[in-house]
Amino acid sequence: MEQTIERTGRAENGVRPVPKRRRDSSESRWGLIMVSPYLIHFVVFVAGPLAASLYFGFSDYDMLNPPKWTGLDNFARMGSDPLFWKALRNTLLFTVLFVPLQTLLALLLAVALNQKLRGLKWFRMAHFIPVISSWTVILYVADAIFNPRFGAANALLTRLGLDAQRWLQDEKLAIPLLVVIAVWKGIGYIMVIYLAGLQSVPGDLYEAAEIDGAGAYRKFRSITLPMISPTTFLVVVMSTITTFQAFEQIYVLTGRGDMSQAGGPNNSTMVLMLDLYREGFTYLRMGYASAIAWVLFMILFALTMLQLRVQKKWVHYE
């Protein structure tokens, strides 16, 4: 149809068709063709799954029989499931310990590295090696230090005349140690984000402060911290979202490849993602697992909204 019109147009005018019009229709066509992979992605792997997952959340579904609508049963069950509450508590505890600790340490490291130190590249690389390692690699690295039998940490404690610890196998120590290991692994990543942010803080601010006689702490507190607050906000929001869905590190470090051991000892490191995995993929309670997923999503959404609201109080935008 389009072509006929153009052809007539050309015949009547006796000149080439108006290029703009022709380009536009072909541009639209090409645009839609080129964007189509994402269209398929969105329909098949995002919108459809979201709707399905919401439906499963209110259903009893074991993948063998068609899902059966059960209303709020899954959510009621969650409310009376002590394991769910334990997983929720552990997830929150893990996030609350991990996010501030990693953010603060990463910022301090970035500030130290930003002093135009010689060998900056090498220091940065050293901090990035844990970042590029898989959790499986980290398991054996953590083992070298925290293995209860032959790790270096216990050897040191024994030499100092202190009691050896069971580390990840100790119900009380497991979560704090997981936090320490996660901070150790991820800090280089956050540090690099901060380094980029620090480089955009104008140097004359510091010079002016120095003339006024401000010390290192004063400059950090009154210039660096406010100027870098948009980066801090981004880092905190990002880390909260990923930490809330932590699975791999806990699966690997506490389970060592065995799902039935993961989250141990005695469920002391059971987090929401592990609970969800077990309900869904081990017991095939896909309905209940979907309900857990939605609750996790809602809590995360509320947390993000809260952070967005609170940011007005402490984030400075230019």
């Binding site: 997952s53 083992d143 942010g197 990002m238 690997v252 997923a293």
Partner: protein, 274 residues
């Protein structure tokens, strides 16, 4: 001035201690991989083995399905990289340079997808691949990368938007269609961003654990991170070999990192500026 020297000294000290905290555990792990089982489990631990058991590394390559895991990991990572580069650049180009109906609505969908935590869609994904009889195959691990992931689209779109308009004008004059302009003129101009996307995708897939744990059940299908963990049962009394296996699995990423460090750092730094 004296004051400044002090603060630099403290910075050096802090960063050196921190770098040691990062590297010493890796050095200890390397040493562990070169011990006999007896040395590996000795109490108190010995830092340096009596003689370095390089043969541990040779044994890893011979035993179990290690070669198969390595192949699977490369297969998944390379197919994902190819898919991500092709699909994200194409979609990103369309969003950056072409005008077409519903463009803004579609782009809002891309941004919206970035906000959805993967946890709410993993169960339906599992069901889809079950319906397609693709469970316990490597396909679910890479196929989605061929359908343009939001992060990659965003990254490529930013790169294409920074190119001046004159380039496509002149190409259009010569009668190229938008697809030809994208392939011939624009793709060669965004090589650094493509490198970032390649590294980001490769590293993500190489280290991924959740998806392989969900989708794979047969040992010979495993990728390296979960394959190595599965060797625990077979290698009782030989656990030092698992340490060696883990370090071998780090090598490709480490090589890529030493070779192209700036792209690793650049990508992460960019995510901060956004």
């Amino acid at each position: 001035m004296k004051h400044k020297r002090w603060s630099r000294a403290i910075a050096y000290l802090a960063i050196t201690v921190s770098a040691l905290v990062m590297l010493v555990p890796f050095a200890a792990t390397l040493m562990n991989s070169l011990k006999t089982y007896k040395e590996y489990t000795a109490v108190p631990p010995k830092w340096i083995p009596a003689s370095l058991q390089w043969s541990n590394y040779a044994k890893v390559l011979e035993l179990g399905h290690f070669g198969q895991y390595t192949f699977n990991s490369f297969f998944v990572a390379l197919l994902s990289v190819a898919g991500a580069v092709i699909s994200c650049s194409m979609v990103g180009y369309a969003f950056a340079r072409l005008r077409f109906p519903f463009k803004n609505a579609l782009f809002v969908m891309v941004l919206g997808t970035m906000m959805i935590p993967p946890v709410v869609i993993i169960i339906p994904h599992f069901i889809i691949f079950n319906k397609l009889h693709l469970l316990d195959t490597l396909t679910p691990l890479w196929v989605i990368e061929w359908l343009a992931q939001p992060f990659g689209i965003f990254l490529m779109r930013q790169a294409f938007m920074n190119i001046p308009k004159e380039y496509e004008e002149s190409a259009k004059m010569e009668g190229c269609n938008p697809f030809q302009v994208y392939v011939r003129i624009f793709m060669p101009m965004v090589k650094p961003t493509v490198a970032t996307l390649v590294i980001f995708t490769f590293m993500g897939k190489w280290n991924e654990i959740l998806a392989p744990v969900i989708y794979l059940t047969s040992n010979e299908k495993f990728t390296l991170p979960i394959g190595i963990l599965s060797l625990g049962g077979q290698w009782v009394g030989n656990e030092q070999l698992m340490v060696a296996a883990a370090l071998i699995s780090l090598l490709p990423i480490l090589a890529l990192f030493l070779f192209a460090e700036k792209y690793f750092v650049q990508n992460h730094a960019n995510s901060g500026i956004k």
